[in-house]
Amino acid sequence: MSISKLSSWGHYPYAPQTGRAPGWRESVQAALRDAGERFGTTLPFGNGRSYGDSCLAATDQVVVLRGLDRFIAADWKTGVVRAEAGVTLGEVLALTVPHGWMLPVTPGTQFVTLGGAVANDVHGKNHHVRGTFGRHVRRFSLLRSDREPLECASNEHADLYQATIGGLGLTGIIEWVELQFMPVASSHLATQTIPFANLDAFLALSRELDAQHEYGVAWIDCLGRGASLGRGIYMCANHASDLCFETPRRHVRDVPFAPPWSPVNRYTLKLFNEFYYRREAAKAGTAVVDYASYFYPLDNIQNWNRLYGRRGFQQYQLVVPDASARDALYAFLDAIASMNAGSFLAVLKRCGPLVSPGLLSFPMQGISLALDFPQYDARNTALFARLDAIVREAGGRQYPAKDAHMSGDDFRAAYPAWQALEQLRDPALMSRFWLRTTR
């Protein structure tokens, strides 16, 4: 089966990918070898939720794994599930939640595949207590063009295990993943919503409340000026204890096409942020909600990336260590406000000290901030140069899964283990990101 016109989530850079889509585990290695022989290199492609060019093949020829969507085994006593790499997190949750098992780590969308979650070593709102996705991966099967299929675990082919977690799909194609789930007393979350006035208030809140909660995250209004610079909403949560185990029904709206001009501009953003702040601030206090509305608010708007128009957008996600976080984040918000740039949803999150087994894992102990910027070439180039300098100076780093601009120097300095990954890279795999940052 072949598929064309695949793109990354940000639609920038726009480089439509063509893929062969093996439907069965037995045909993946042949697809990999065939693509490698025919085009030189290829890249595994999951569900296209990486934002920048890390999911784009250097040759624009990918192997699409979404067709590997079967479960292989599940042990409901121990919470260990083995599934093919193309299964999405949402599909896994629909299976495990009724049995009382939750994903120990989930990013902000349930539309990523298991393979993609491993390859980007994703993190979630509980990073401060559970670390990254990779910490819960017991085992996976890896298919390479240059050797026989192999199984990787922390004590088995440990080098490839570590390189593949956060390895951006470059060490081979993940065929299946075995994951340890987390027992919960409910699929509902008991949330607490607290508006805050500025960054200092957020830092104090998250320092105090993250420790008492499984989950903690904040939204900030990055268009605020002066006294309201960094105002936002902090939302922490624990699993409820009502023994309800439901997969929530979703009311999904679709953005059917990308308009030629993006409706996202500084005026609509200001309006939106004002509206959003007021609406969420009005919800201050406690509530019990289903997990999807807390974890995946944007999943209700299918293809929301199209709101940014045909030019697309870039997400900028950084993490800075605690010591320099306050100053760096103020400088960050200043730079954004002064250029009148801005973002729908700016997400702020305190990351914890737990270390990932992955060589190129993104999170570090400190504060992470993610922002979406509509693609305006000149503006973004100028803005990102300023932001990059702030991150560099603060000793922080950016997230390859979101990236479409980071310089090779910044990448190699922030991820010194890149050379170890390069050593273990499958010679038949190459992404645009890797080509851009390591050559």
Binding site: M1, R70, F71, L95
Partner: protein
């Protein structure tokens, strides 16, 4: 109570999507087909999803002698069969069928004769047990002989007509026969074809329609629904017009 379901063509995309719907309500499966490893992968998936049991049977539908062994195996594993789904088939290479009589006959054999042989065998079993549903994947292609795929269409027309007669025969025995006519479905069988995007349905969508139609005891469905309207128009075209349209 768990439904006992026999599927022929058990690794086909539509069959898998149907099985995943049925398993939500509790089900046991016997999956028959050509590819042992694929069938086992599907069976594993269904077991994890909660199937009471999911067994497989290696079957080449063109080898009619194997049919009764498969039915015996299904009865011995499942006991009573509530639903049988015939979802096997190939999409013929029309131009090859136009040049090579062998190819044309082969396509008719796999898409029509094997189904007719299976249905004949199954009908006798269902007539005795006096309950259950027989679901057959036919196609909109069987409604009219189109130049682009009339060999495949001929096979599906035979299947549709056979099912209509069988439905009337088994009506007296309280056995339902459902003819399913999908339009374009995004499956490995149609990969590589230039299909009109808005008309292409996912196997999941088609499966949801099939499962609903079985539950409601329908006789025949188009899926997705808009194919009923499209085929109404296409069937109404007079022959002297139809032969001039390159469909």
């Amino acid at each position: 109570m768990d439904k006992n379901i026999l599927i022929v063509g058990g690794s086909s995309a539509i069959a898998v999507a149907c099985a995943r719907e049925w398993v939500k309500g509790g089900a046991n499966f016997m999956l028959a087909g050509r590819h042992a490893t694929r069938l086992e992968a599907v069976a594993q998936d269904l077991r994890v999803r909660g199937a009471g049991r999911a067994d497989t049977f290696m079957l080449d539908v063109n080898n009619f002698d194997q049919h009764s062994a498969m039915l015996d195996a299904a009865i011995s594993k499942l006991g009573h069969i509530d639903i049988v789904l015939l979802a096997h088939g190939t999409l013929s290479d029309q131009s090859e069928c136009e040049r090579d009589p062998q190819a044309a006959v082969r396509e008719i054999t796999v898409n029509a004769l094997s189904t007719i042989a299976l249905l004949t065998l199954l009908a006798c079993q269902f007539e005795v047990q006096k309950s259950g549903s027989i679901v057959v994947i036919s196609s909109v292609a069987g409604d009219r002989g189109r130049p682009s795929n009339y060999v495949y269409g001929t096979a599906k027309a035979a299947v549709t007509t056979f099912c209509e007669g069988l439905r009337a025969r088994l009506f007296k025995s309280n056995v339902k026969v459902l003819t399913v006519k999908p339009g374009f479905v995004d499956t490995p069988m149609t990969a590589g074809l230039a299909l009109p995007g808005p008309l292409v349905a996912s196997p999941e969508r088609v499966a949801a329609d099939i499962v609903r139609a079985v539950a409601r005891g329908k006789d025949s469905i188009y899926t997705p629904w808009f194919w009923a309207e499209i085929m109404l128009v296409i069937r109404a075209l007079p022959g002297f017009v139809f032969k001039r349209i390159p469909l």
